[in-house]
Symmetry: C2
Subunit: 349 residues, 2 copies
């Protein structure tokens, strides 16, 4: 098969981790006889510096024409503490998600047997955890009207239309059917009108999936349950902001943010990116863990309808974990570089 | 001294835990020669059943006249999964917070040396944790306009005026001055306009407290850092919804939600309540942990300007922890009842 992949390395460690994921994808292409064409474009703080825009038109156009997009990370501290900045790297990411219609962000969280010791949680609490977070990605408070009123009040409006909820709910139910058949809706229905709409819509859809057991959890309780007993979860479905918070929180189960991939899908082109940020302090040091991006590439292969190829990548990553070919945060005594980890995985596919 | 305390036992385990806190306050009054008058009122689901309103007028009027309010817990599952319910217990709580002007909710989180084994987190990660969350309580998405538009879209508006931010920020800075002099503002300034206003206002205030070191954290990162390394925090300042999520999450550090007190303060009457909910499954079984409510009563004593009395209560609680006079979730082998724990602490003051 032939696929055109747009690569958006982005800022900080983005280019390094993308480089390794591309290396692995090239190895897959060679071993399985595919042709992957990689097309690099600007995005994020680097794109602002170069063009004035965090998502230049050429980048967006290329993404729309691609078979899939691989994103590294975006963001730069020079924008974070400057509330007056008019253009920000994050705007490019949000605009890209919206423009590609990537309404479902899928984040698997696994407690790797080999890495239990790295989690701040007790091994017996997390062993066997295997959950999937479905985070709504193009609605909610991220995309509602925001601004300031005449008296200086700032506002962010959170909105959801029933259709925005239904389409991701159907995906989450179908994912649950292929897993342990359990779906938890996380919301704040005791306070928010949008959450009450989520419950209504999801309750109305649930009978179409009689084999899936449903339950509901308030987000404050969910933030606690994720740590108390993560094994209780199979598929978690939630809105944009809650999903942002809970998925970063859940990363502690895996032992490193550098292990967690994500897929953002809609009805067209899909995008794959690690859940970690641009980690500017680590830039250029060869210490960034490329596994999250490599596993994001594996999700891309699944999305291409290449399950055997995806499994080959996952097995190679597993082998890196077994052999402890890992970056410093997971192997302080014999640390490997970003490139060494990527090469080991690429060699293993 | 003489004080009028309004007690709102509320729903579920609320009456049981309030009963023990009152027992302890009575012991304090006796030992220190104070006069505490307790005045009981309806609130929550029980109040809806009895009067149609979760916060009857008589209750609200009594709270306004009181020197302090002690609240148990409110909420009932019969309202949670019924998105169509027009009257909810939570409305009463939100209305009470708003009406009393309780804009700052203060939640201390401590890793008790005696209970490290009960946390899902590794003891070495949490030992020594002692942090204070300042959660804004009368603004944000909780109180913004909410509803449905003609096309069925649900909305919740999040708003903050600079004054709403400044008043709690000053309190948080002053609290930090009395502690380890470190303040972390948690927001989502890379996405939300309200968060950018929080940064502006807090940055402008910071120079008035040159002895306090300030930093900023995005909420997704904060949800992770709280678990990875909770000792890094002294005072955390954040908006209403983020504070709701983070403080429940932080409760895992203490080993039980049943240990965490809170104070809600403004410019008038203050309110004290455990952070746990009404836990209806445990109602009437004598297994509810009264310590969170008892420690909330201790915060009330501090608020009354009775530090010695407050310390006596805390010492008595510490003694209960040392002697393992604890409810089943913290002492499965020799469990004590709610009343036994309350009596032990009351006897100890
Ligand atoms: C960078 C930021 C805008 C983004 C988000 O909040 O969605 C990030 O945290 C993520 O989770 O992908
Ligand atoms: C019951 C609910 C409305 C409340 C809140 O979200 O504020 C509770 O979770 C709390 O934290 O006191």
């Amino acid at each position: 098969m032939s696929k055109r992949i747009v690569v958006l390395p982005g800022d900080g460690i983005g280019p390094e981790v993308c480089g390794e994921a591309v290396r692995v994808l090239k190895a897959v292409a060679e071993r399985f006889g595919h042709h992957f064409h990689f097309d690099y474009h600007l995005m994020g703080a680097g794109a602002i510096d170069a063009t004035g825009s965090p998502l230049p038109e050429a980048t967006l156009a290329a993404c729309h024409r691609a078979d899939a997009v691989l994103l590294g990370a975006i963001g730069d501290p020079k924008y974070d503490n400057n509330p007056a900045a008019k253009v920000r790297p994050e705007q490019g990411l949000l605009q890209l998600r919206k423009s590609l219609g990537l309404y479902a962000n899928i984040r698997p969280v696994t407690a790797y047997e080999q890495l239990l010791e790295f989690s701040p949680l007790r091994p017996d609490r997390i062993a066997g955890t295997d959950l999937l977070i479905f985070r709504e990605l193009t609605g909610g408070v991220y995309f509602g009207e925001k601004g300031r009123t005449a008296d200086g009040t700032a506002y962010d409006n959170c909105t959801y239309h029933p259709d925005e909820i239904a389409r991701i709910a159907h995906r989450a139910f179908r994912a649950a059917q292929g897993r342990r058949r359990q779906l938890t809706l996380v919301d704040k229905a005791n306070v928010l009108e949008t959450s009450r709409l989520w419950r209504e819509v999801v309750q109305a859809i649930a009978p179409e999936y009689p084999d899936v057991a449903m339950d509901y959890l308030f987000v404050d309780n969910a933030a606690m349950q994720l740590i108390l007993n993560p094994r209780q979860f199979d598929v978690i479905l939630t809105e944009n902001m809650f999903g942002d918070i809970l998925s970063d929180e859940a990363s502690v189960i895996a032992g490193s943010l550098g292990l967690l991939p994500s897929a953002s899908v809609g009805d067209g082109v899909a995008l794959f990116e690690p859940i970690h940020g641009s980690y500017p302090q680590a830039k250029g040091k060869g210490i960034a863990n490329p596994i999250a991006t490599i596993l994001s590439a594996a999700m891309m292969l699944d999305h291409f309808g290449m399950p055997e190829e995806a499994q080959a990548v996952r097995d190679a990553v597993d082998n890196a974990l077994n052999e402890r070919v890992l970056t410093p945060e997971l192997n302080a005594s014999v640390p490997y570089t970003t490139e060494q980890v990527g090469s080991f995985v690429a060699y293993g596919v």
